[in-house]
């Protein structure tokens, strides 16, 4: 492989797409360029000023209170519909918060000098997916990424896992604040009044299946149920009625809904009391070999190929186990995998990949960000909205559909019409594609009938659609 191809792989496959000048800066040390991004602090945002989860949820409290009071005044219970005006107030409050966060994320991706680190943030955010089509997380999907993911992507997996499972966005997304131990004090009191309260196993199941061990790791329904009992009480502050307590928008353990007693799961006995029981299970899950393998497979699928070579998975999983889940060591093993440097353009870009690389490659100015944000939805990948706790799928065949391709072409053409007088396709192409710039694309750009058409042909070239 030529130096030129390796630099393009570093910038486009590991990073978020080359900007003019990036490939020259990477030069003949693409691995060193990537390793350099793993050193140093977590990729926090330089831009302060976005509100914390606590601030966002505190701002929602008066709206929720007004809704409760209106219901009570109407004599209805918790399920009585609020007035249309009241029902709209919550989304009206949350939506601008969502947009601000999505835009800040886009801006960071377009401007980042550590695009590999930024891609890793996106990878983990998708691994631990929450989705804003659930209203409860509309305002806090962004703060979840800022507070639970970003600070930990250069740390240990175990700390990342804990930060995620204790974050209000995850607890709300997977309903855990509702789950009540059947023998907890609260459930017993409710039973005396003829009401049944009990488990919701959503979070427990997805932690095992999606976040840690993986679906084929051999756990049973009984393990899921036991783990759901372990996690009862993992909740957040604020709320209503007698259960209202704790700082709004922060993790709170509620002993009164926790299922008492020891739990057996995954062939181990957990006799710890209260929150310590869940901490112990999560620590064991983080250290399980199945987790190392599951994470290694997902990383290899994201960075190497749809069906990653077994050798690469072994190498990455081995680094995970040997380092005790030290993530930079895991990423370093990935960089050192020869398979990652084979087969340029092995992955078809997701819409997100495509738009980040388009924005970076064309050096789009900040004022075009709102429109670019709209393009994510248009191409089928609205920010923070994967629609499922499994996150966005990560195989080429999930994204290379016919309708999807036509939309990319139409979008490229619209962008090219707008920018053709300021961007020269023939000059840009080698800077964005490096050694992957093919003779066929060179010829098609050279023969274009207009500067706009030339730019469209660059943005729709097979090697620009892949990474």
């Amino acid at each position: 492989m030529t130096v030129d191809v390796a630099a393009a792989i570093a910038a486009n496959r590991f990073g978020l797409g080359a900007r003019p000048g990036d490939l020259a800066a990477i030069g003949d040390d693409p691995r060193g360029w990537l390793r350099g991004q793993l050193a140093g602090a977590a990729p926090l945002w330089p831009t302060a000023g976005l509100p914390s989860t606590g601030q966002i949820l505190s701002g929602a409290e008066p709206i929720l209170r007004a809704r409760r009071e209106a219901r009570q005044a109407a004599g209805g219970g918790a399920s009585a519909p609020a007035s249309a005006e009241l029902a709209m107030r919550l989304p009206q409050y949350l939506r601008p918060l969502y947009v601000n966060d999505a835009r800040a994320r886009l801006s960071a991706a377009l401007l980042s000098e550590r695009p590999f680190a930024e891609r890793l943030v996106h990878f983990w955010s998708n691994h631990f997916a929450v989705s804003v089509d659930k209203l409860a997380v509309l305002g806090i999907a962004g703060s979840f990424e800022r507070e639970a993911i970003r600070p930990h992507v250069m740390g240990r997996f175990r700390e990342l896992l804990l930060a995620v499972e204790m974050h209000p966005a995850m607890l709300l997304y997977l309903d855990n604040q509702q789950s009540v131990g059947p023998n907890s004090p609260v459930a017993r009191r409710a039973a005396q009044r003829g009401r049944t309260l009990g488990l919701n196993e959503n979070l427990a199941r997805e932690i095992l299946e999606l976040h840690t061990l993986g679906v084929d790791a051999g756990y049973s329904q009984a393990d899921v149920t036991s783990f759901a009992k372990v996690l009862t009480g993992w909740s957040l502050g604020g709320g209503q009625g007698r259960l209202a307590s704790g700082p709004v928008g922060a993790f709170v353990f509620r002993p009164e809904v926790h299922e008492p007693g020891l739990q057996n799961l995954l062939s181990r006995r957990y006799a710890e009391a209260d929150q310590a029981q869940g901490m112990a299970v999560l620590a064991d899950l983080a250290a399980a070999p199945a987790t190392a393998r599951h994470i290694a497979t997902k990383l290899a699928r994201h960075f190497i190929a749809d069906e990653p070579p077994a050798a690469a998975i072994e190498r990455i999983a081995g680094a995970f186990e040997r380092s005790g889940g030290d993530l930079p060591a895991v990423y370093a093993a990935m960089i050192e995998s020869p398979e990652a440097w084979d087969g340029a353009s092995a992955k078809f870009k997701t819409p997100q990949d495509y738009l980040f690389s388009l924005g970076r490659g064309l050096a789009l100015p900040p004022e075009s960000e709102p429109r670019l944000l709209g393009a994510f939805e248009l191409l089928g990948q609205r920010t923070y909205a994967p629609g499922s706790p499994a996150g966005w799928p990560d195989r080429s065949s999930d994204w290379d559909g016919a309708s999807e391709l036509l939309k990319r072409i139409e979008l490229s053409d619209a962008v090219a019409q707008k920018l053709a007088d300021r961007r020269d396709a023939m000059q840009l192409a080698p800077q964005l594609l490096g050694g992957t710039f093919s003779a066929a694309t060179r010829e098609s750009i050279a023969r274009a009938a207009s500067p706009a058409q030339a730019l469209t042909l660059l943005l729709t070239a097979p090697e620009f659609l892949r990474r």
């Binding site: 399920s79 519909p81 029902a87 709209m88 919550l90 989304p91 949350l94 939506r95 804003v132 089509d133 209203l135 509309l138 309903d175 509702q178 009540v180 059947p182 459930a187 049944t196 309260l197 009990g198 488990l199 919701n200 196993e201 199941r205 299946e209 679906v215 329904q221 899921v224 075009s368 429109r371 709209g374 393009a375 248009l378 191409l379 089928g380 499922s388 499994a390 065949s397 559909g401 016919a402 309708s403 999807e404 391709l405 036509l406 939309k407 072409i409 139409e410 979008l411 053409d413 619209a414 962008v415 019409q417 707008k418 098609s444 469209t456 042909l457 729709t460 070239a461 097979p462 659609l465």
Partner: protein, 444 residues
């Protein structure tokens, strides 16, 4: 960016008919060039041998069959379901009457009408062979048609349409997915189109031809582009020619938006959602009405994962079913006379727990319902070997036991409606299980 317009261009793309003209011109251009593999893709055969149409709608998220089609007469139902239980027909918050044992969720008024017209058939206590409780693996099994997850990248419907009778006059594409991408159920070697509405201006013919030329050496991209342009052509043509279906559907559209508005907060987070449902069913109808169009169509619906606050007769699930039911009504109206040759199979990856969980919802389970709708269905019946809901028969002590394999339903429809040969069905589509066929699902 998406909303940019080319004021400098003499032919600014605009409405659908304009778009259609542009596409048609391009197609002619492509055909005139002749011989190239790219142009050949648009050759729609003139003669249809089978005019049967089949639609698969995937309800992703695990639909609660016990709330969609409540067995209100089962002695254990009300006890297990607590406040989620739907009452017998005839009461204030009761279910809609079906057959004296099962009712229908009050949101499903169109399905009820179709049932009365003998155009809806319900299969209860049905499931795929998957017996774990992961959505994602469950959906994989539902779509692959095999017994284990992640065993293939080819869906059962792709394997089935590859066996449409020789000479069947469908165009280049045998099936169409209404969505940005083709879901697993329809993925595979048989040519498939996908289509979703675009708000972007069309690209001029010369640029498109150059892109196509560049893709000539890239088999995947040239196939995808060919499929996309062919699908766009069909969609634009039916939009231009068929103002009728769009307008006959408008009443249902109005009903549906009203239902969605009642869904309040959830819909408010994504107000375009309800409208997009309608655009999808209309486009699907446009494809299926064409003589040379695809024989099968698929699309997805979501929002059925009711862990929390599922609700009863006025609850969240009922609201969502009502919006979906409105889309089905619009689909029938858009299809016009094609409805009489159509079978719609509606299925989900698995059911939900028989008992309500601790948060007024239900967790992942096993047995559930599937629906067959359409003028070609021998309907007005609930087909099921009801296992009951007593503690000793519940699967693993918690779920409705499945007594019918969904693949039996599917393959019987494929055999009797699309006339796929049993040999192909048993060897390739749902291989090696010796599953029985269910007779008489389709009107003769």
């Amino acid at each position: 960016m998406p909303s940019h317009h080319r004021s400098s261009s003499p032919d600014v793309p605009g409405s659908q008919p304009q778009r259609l003209l542009r596409r048609r011109r391009f197609l002619q251009l492509g055909l005139a060039a002749g011989g190239s593999a790219f142009a050949v893709r648009y050759a729609f055969a003139a003669r249809a041998v089978t005019d049967a149409r089949f639609v698969f709608i995937n309800m992703r998220g695990a639909l609660d069959g016990l709330s969609a089609v409540p067995p209100y007469a089962d002695p254990d139902y009300a006890r297990l379901r607590e406040q989620l239980a739907l009452d017998a027909p005839g009461t204030a918050d009761g279910s809609l009457p079906l057959d004296g044992h099962f009712g229908l969720n009050p949101g499903l008024s169109f399905v009820r009408e179709a049932f009365d017209a003998r155009e809806a058939l319900i299969v209860h206590a049905v499931a795929t062979p998957y017996r774990e409780r992961s959505h994602f693996d469950g959906q994989d099994v539902l779509e692959s048609g095999l017994t284990r997850p992640h065993a293939t990248q080819i869906g059962w419907l792709n394997r089935a349409v590859a066996g449409l009778p020789a000479g069947a006059g469908h165009g280049a594409e045998l099936g169409v997915a209404l969505g940005q991408n083709v879901p697993l159920v329809l993925r595979g070697p048989a040519p498939i189109a996908s289509w979703s509405p675009s708000k972007l201006p069309a690209v001029d013919d010369d640029t498109m031809q150059r892109i196509a030329d560049r893709y000539a050496s890239d088999p995947l991209l040239s196939q995808r582009l060919g499929d996309a342009l062919a699908a766009d052509h069909i969609a634009a043509e039916s939009a231009a020619a068929g103002e009728e279906p769009a307008s006959t559907a408008s009443t249902a559209a109005a009903n549906m938006s009203a239902g969605a508005a009642a869904g309040a907060a959830g819909a408010a987070a994504n107000p375009a959602g309800a409208a997009r449902y309608l655009e999808t069913v209309r486009a699907a109808a446009g494809f299926l009405q064409r003589e040379d169009g695809p024989a099968v169509a698929v699309f997805d619906t979501t929002g059925w994962d009711t862990h929390f606050n599922e609700g009863g007769a006025q609850g969240q699930l009922t609201q969502r079913l009502r919006a979906f039911d409105g889309a089905l009504r619009a689909f029938k109206e858009s299809l016009g006379s094609t409805w009489s040759r159509t079978v719609v199979l509606i299925a989900t990856e698995f059911g939900r727990t028989a008992a309500a969980n601790g948060t007024r919802g239900t967790d992942h389970g096993t047995g559930t319902v599937a629906f067959l709708l359409g003028g070609a269905v021998h309907g007005g019946r609930v087909v099921c070997d009801w296992p009951g809901l007593s503690a000793r028969v519940l699967y693993e002590g918690r779920d409705l036991r499945a007594t019918t394999d969904l693949r039996s339903v599917t393959k019987s429809v494929l055999r009797d409606h699309l006339h796929i040969s049993p040999r192909r069905l048993d060897a390739e589509v749902f291989p090696a299980d010796n599953l029985p066929y269910i007779e008489d699902l389709i009107r003769v």
